[in-house]
């Protein structure tokens, strides 16, 4: 149990390292997963072959981007959205999503592009389907169940106290008279 907690903490620190771009020594070995660190790519006029994913977008593309990017989760830094993460994979995926938007693909197409590769995990709001029913409706089912139980307890008429036995009655009489 203690070892599990330690491993979990180390893995989290390693992950955090790759998310903020800091070099945490040995983090990759502990976490078991490594991603390349990203550095602030300077706009390079000479070799601008690869469109930088953070280059200015047209208004129309920007509107769609804002709409979809915040719903997507970064796989490397699991508590960051794809839009805000600095992990190199997030940069690649931003570039990909942007090019899909520019190709005029629908939000559903873009979502299915990502889900078919990374699973429902990339979506902050997974689709409602049999596999995710428990996730979506579980809390409400739990709440309803708790309400039903609470309702029954509150309506429960208190059980009448058991009648006293003759010896008890005698003892009460003695106590009262003493």
């Amino acid at each position: 149990m203690t070892r599990a907690v330690m491993a979990w903490v180390l893995a989290s620190v390693g992950l955090w390292g790759s998310c903020v771009g800091a070099q945490v020594p040995g983090s990759a070995a502990h976490g078991g997963v490594a991603m390349p660190q990203v550095q602030a790519a300077l706009p390079n006029a000479g070799a601008a072959v690869v469109a930088h994913p953070d280059a200015p977008m047209s208004v129309a593309v920007k509107a769609r981007w804002d709409h979809i990017a915040a719903e997507l989760r970064c796989l490397v830094c699991q508590n960051e959205s794809l839009a805000s993460s600095n992990a190199e994979l997030a940069v690649d995926l931003r570039r990909e999503v942007r090019s899909l938007i520019e190709q005029g693909q629908s939000d559903a197409d873009i979502r299915s592009f990502l889900v078919s590769r990374y699973g429902d995990f990339v979506l902050y709001k997974p689709e409602v389907k049999p596999v995710t029913w428990l996730l979506w409706f579980g809390p409400f089912a739990l709440l309803l169940g708790a309400l039903a139980v609470a309702w029954r307890w509150m309506r429960r008429t208190p059980a009448a106290p058991e009648p006293l036995t003759d010896t008890e009655r005698e003892r009460v009489r003695q106590l009262l008279e003493s």
């Binding site: 078991g32 997963v33 390349p36 990203v38 390079n44 072959v49 994979l89 990909e96 590769r117």
Partner: protein, 204 residues
């Protein structure tokens, strides 16, 4: 205190007063199990589906590898890079697996040159390819060559089709070209013993 009448009320204590305690213990058990699970293990949607189609240049050799070449052989696909620490950890295991009869070993060197090294340069440029090839070959020469074929995925686009989110990652593709297994992170003797080898034996 010995009088039975004093103890009588506690015998009538309803059972449901223990419900919150039971609920709490249940929650502790649930969370304890959750804590021991690895949040990096995201189930792959690729399992049971055909491996993505791709074409990549073979490191050091002429020609390209086409995903159609998966057909007819069981293939272990390992995504790795020389900058990845876990890849070095698992390398002895890959070397051992390469001796497994009837298993094709395919290495995909994923983004050997990282964004910081490319600084805006095209990862597919001849210069970048040459640099990555040299590095990939030197690393394998030093640590051993487990791969029958080693490919270069310079821009990480094929890795993306595989759903790679960290290195190393390992996939098992069956004779029909269907992905049967994925492991994210370094392979361990336990994973090989308890998951990979039994699966390998069960494949026709």
């Amino acid at each position: 205190m010995s009088a039975p009448s004093v103890n009588a009320p506690s015998q009538r204590m309803p059972r449901w007063v223990f419900a919150p305690l039971a609920l709490f213990l249940g929650m502790v058990a649930f969370l304890a199990v959750g804590l021991t699970r690895n949040p990096q293990e995201i189930p792959s949607p690729l399992i049971g589906r055909p491996a993505p189609a791709f074409q990549l240049p073979v490191v050091g050799g002429p020609g390209v590898f086409n995903a159609a070449q998966f057909k007819g052989q069981v293939t272990l696909v390992n995504l790795w890079a020389t900058w990845c620490a876990g890849c070095k950890d698992e390398h002895p295991i890959l070397m051992a697996l390469s001796l497994q009869p009837g298993l094709q070993m395919l290495g995909i060197n994923y983004k050997e040159l990282q964004a910081s090294e490319l600084s805006g340069q095209d990862p597919q440029s001849a210069e970048a390819l040459q640099k990555a090839t040299a590095r990939s070959q030197a690393w394998l020469q030093k640590n051993g060559q487990p791969f029958g074929v080693n490919l270069l995925d310079m821009d990480g686009r094929v890795g993306m089709d595989f759903g790679v989110y960290g290195l190393p990652e390992t996939y098992l593709v069956d004779r029909a070209g269907v992905v049967r297994f994925k492991h994210a992170g370094a392979l361990t003797p336990e994973v090989v013993q308890h998951q990979l080898l039994p699966l390998l034996r069960s494949l026709p």
